[in-house]
């Protein structure tokens, strides 16, 4: 490589010589940047960028002429060869110089061209592309004199989980957001909404493509928040002077239309930004309410506390943008209701086959609705899932429910509307939204009497309830967070207590029969044991609307045990034990026990057998003794096939206990 001083001297000459020939100057600049980046030492690169920055300051006219190309060329310096990603940004001279160069571009470049190139770069910025580029770069390093700062030994706690791609995407995103924000204010136009729309589209494309993968999504959220908060429309007075053909009325009309459009665009970015950035974050709204019901103190861990702080900013931004969160949330509830309101009642469906077919349709209704909504909508709208998240942030912020009157029917419709589309496309998966819709289910069942809840649930078609239960169960069984899983199972059990008994039993039976996952079967078996053994309170049976008593019982978060029964009060279990039901469960238990003979039976299958034994032990006094004897004998016969010694012992012990209980 030529001496860096010679390159800089050539660069200075080029700025003088080719100041009117942007094509040549761009080519020369690209050549020098590539050369320095490939062969230069870090000091050379810093020296080069310092010189370039000086030239940009001295030649704003030249910067204006090559606005298209400057940003892309300067971003080339953001590589692992030039920046130590384990250190904070302030340590990197290169990043500081790159940012200063971008500052010059933002203030001197031709704003429309600069905005377009900024939007293009942001739209194409992705972790995937960055990874590919970094891999190529590392391949090149074998021949490079470039000093690589990266040292895994130095990785501090702060950056421990950040990959180089994640680091550079975040830095570039920051730079491009700033560039776009600044240039937007410099565009002389009577139609600023056109450019604002362009900018926000690029931002949305970026977050949709990357938010699942970015390690610290708070960085992106803060950028969106800052952009929304700091956006000021450009001064239109220059355009007015130029275009003298416009009357005062024309100007007022255009200005009003433009203001309205810009407001819509910013509101859209606020809601869609929140929703998209939180897609992969497990929300805590339902957990917080659960803790409140259990009279337990709720605290958020570090990361979630920070997320909650950023959410709070978005919540208050929504208020600043005059978004009526309650009105918009009620609209979401109504739309969800409308999606499912046309479903036929059980009584009007001729056969079980027809019911199954309709159930398949129920799964797809919300997904189809979303596709139609995207295809049909012409105006920029608020993002409904963003509104759902804001309804949850309202509770996190104020400890109050935005809509305590929500009915259990509406909460179920809302749940289905927000969760079932993800069964067809990962694009619609959103863990934060799921937390909020679970929270609304909690609100619905804790703010109405059992009698009202039961009546409402009876009015829903059984196949819709089954769809809801299956979706809920499948989502919860995949939930990796133990606390959320536990809270959700508590909610699930409570809802099963309220649903018509026949629907509940049928659902559990179908799950025990057809689910591919033994741990799911184990879970529903545990729930069924509770539902068959624990009894409803007298209040519940008498359809008492005493809200205080209800709240107290729900606050305990336990379905009533025998100990809680009033003396001499007739009470019944949630799911009755009948001969037919005993036979059905017996048949399924035998099928599970037979799996012991299969060579490749899994640990989860063996645990399921143990759970069946616990189920029978718990219900022995209600169960047919001959059936229990048959279970005992079958296990005794096959347990020796069990390859897991620990589980084998537990099964044997439980089987001995069962034998004792039968006698």
């Amino acid at each position: 490589m030529a001496n860096v001083n010679d390159i800089i001297a050539d660069l200075v000459n080029a700025f003088d010589e080719y100041s009117d020939d942007s094509v040549s100057l761009t080519a020369i600049l690209e050549m020098y940047i590539d050369q320095i980046n490939m062969d230069g030492e870090i000091d050379d690169k810093e020296q080069f960028l310092t010189a370039l920055l000086g030239l940009m300051k001295d030649h704003p006219d030249v910067v204006a002429r090559i606005s298209w190309d400057f940003p892309k060329e300067i971003l080339k310096f953001l590589t692992t060869a030039n920046v130590d990603v384990t250190k904070r940004l302030g340590y990197s001279v290169i990043i500081s110089l790159v940012m200063k160069c971008f500052n010059e571009i933002a203030f001197s470049a031709e704003p429309k061209e600069c905005l377009l190139t900024g939007c293009e770069l942001l739209s194409n910025l992705s972790l995937e592309n960055e990874n590919i580029e970094l891999e190529m770069e590392q391949g090149d390093h074998t021949n490079s004199k470039g000093q690589t700062h990266y040292s895994s030994a130095e990785i501090g706690k702060y950056h421990a989980e950040r990959t180089p791609a994640d680091f550079f995407v975040s830095v570039k995103m920051y730079i491009l957001f700033e560039l776009i924000g600044t240039t937007l204010q410099r565009i002389p136009t009577l139609n600023p909404s056109k450019y604002l729309g362009l900018a926000t589209s690029a931002m949305i494309r970026f977050i949709k493509a990357n938010c699942d993968g970015i390690n610290d999504v708070r960085i992106v959220m803060r950028r969106i928040f800052s952009f929304c908060r700091n956006y000021v429309p450009p001064d239109t007075s220059l355009c007015v002077i130029k275009d003298r053909s416009l009357t005062k009325e024309d100007l007022i009309r255009i200005e009003e239309r433009e203001l309205a459009s810009q407001r819509r665009i910013l509101r859209n970015l606020c809601t869609i930004g929140l929703e998209t950035c939180l897609k992969a974050i497990n929300g805590r709204t339902d957990v917080k309410y659960f803790y409140f019901l259990s009279n337990t103190e709720f605290t958020l861990a570090g990361f979630y506390k920070d997320i909650s702080e950023v959410n709070s900013r978005f919540f208050n931004l929504a208020l600043s943008f005059d978004i009526d969160i309650k009105k918009e949330f009620l609209e979401c509830v109504k739309t969800s209701h409308d999606i499912y309101k046309g479903l036929p009642k059980d009584s009007s469906i001729g056969s079980e086959e027809a019911k199954k077919l309709i159930q398949q349709t129920v799964y797809k209704l919300a997904y189809s609705y979303e596709l139609q909504r995207i295809a049909k909508h012409k105006n920029v709208q608020l993002d409904p899932l963003g509104i759902v998240i804001l309804s949850g942030v309202y509770y996190m912020e104020t400890d109050k429910h935005l809509y305590p009157q929500i009915t259990v029917k509406d909460a179920i419709y809302l749940y289905l509307r927000c969760t079932t589309p993800s069964l067809f496309s990962k694009f619609y998966e959103n863990f934060s939204v799921e937390s909020v819709v679970r929270y609304w289910l909690w609100v619905s069942i804790t703010n109405h009497s059992s009698a009202v809840l039961r009546k409402e649930l009876e009015e829903l078609p059984s196949y819709l309830l089954t769809t809801f239960l299956q979706t809920f169960l499948s989502k919860n069984c995949k939930q990796p967070n133990e606390e959320i899983r536990m809270v959700s199972f508590t909610l699930f059990t409570r809802i099963l207590c309220l649903i018509p008994e026949a629907v509940t039993f049928k659902f559990i039976l179908e799950t025990l029969t057809a689910s591919s996952y033994p741990h799911v079967k184990s879970s529903v078996l545990g729930i069924l044991k509770d539902l068959m053994s624990k009894r409803r309170s007298c209040q519940d049976l008498c359809a008492n609307d005493n809200d205080e008593a209800l709240s107290n019982s729900l606050a305990k978060l336990k379905i009533n045990s025998k100990k809680n029964e009033g003396a001499g009060v007739e009470s019944q279990v949630y799911v009755e034990v009948s001969e037919e039901r005993m036979n059905e469960i017996h048949h399924l238990a035998l099928r599970a026990i037979n799996s012991l003979e299969e060579e490749k039976t899994t640990r989860a299958n063996i645990i399921l057998i143990l759970n069946y034994l616990e189920f029978f032990n718990g219900l022995h006094s209600e169960w047919d003794k001959s059936l229990l004897q048959s279970i005992h004998d079958e296990i005794e016969d096959k347990v020796e096939n069990c390859s897991d010694e620990d589980l084998k012992k537990q099964i044997k012990d439980a089987n001995v206990k069962l034998y004792g209980l039968i006698q």
Partner: protein, 161 residues
């Protein structure tokens, strides 16, 4: 009579502060916060107050914790902070919400009279300012970025009217 003079917010001790006492005064109302980048504006606000108070300017600060949770303290703590750090002598009121379901009626009124940037009514951040003339009419609304010193001339003009 302007609706402005019918408002009665609470002062930091929780006692009524009827705006009827502001008749004939020029009033600058600011939503303040102690931990904000704009907090140093207290200094310029106090300077304006000292300069024009005897000519009829009243500045009223309404602490608000809605923006970045930057006003977390109690009313007493906020009052002490203002006095100790910026020598504030103008009235600092009870902490309120300026947006949303629980917004204070003072802000409901002010926002209804003058929109902010892009026509949004909502308050965007700490240290937005509303200037009210001697007749209780909202004369202007200023963004957080607007330094209090830059309103000096406008205040002087309104005081002369």
């Amino acid at each position: 009579m302007s609706e402005f003079y019918k408002l009665t917010p609470k002062d930091k001790k929780g006692e009524d502060y009827p705006f009827s006492q502001l008749k004939g005064k020029v009033v600058l109302i600011v939503n303040v916060a102690s931990k904000c980048g704009f907090t140093p504006q207290y200094k310029e606000l106090e300077a304006l107050y000292e300069k024009y108070n005897d000519k009829g300017l009243v500045i009223i600060g309404f602490p608000c914790n809605q923006f970045g949770h930057q006003e977390p303290g109690t009313d007493e703590e906020i009052g002490q902070f203002c006095q100790l750090n910026y020598g504030v002598t103008f009235p600092i009121m009870k902490k309120i919400d300026v947006n949303g379901k629980n917004e204070d009626p003072v802000y409901g009124f002010l926002k209804s009279q003058k929109s902010g940037i892009l026509g949004f009514k909502g308050i965007k951040w700490n240290f937005e300012k509303f200037l009210v003339d001697k007749n209780g009419k909202v004369y202007e609304r200023y963004a957080s970025l607007t330094k209090p010193s830059s309103i000096d001339e406008t205040i002087a003009t309104l005081l002369k009217e």
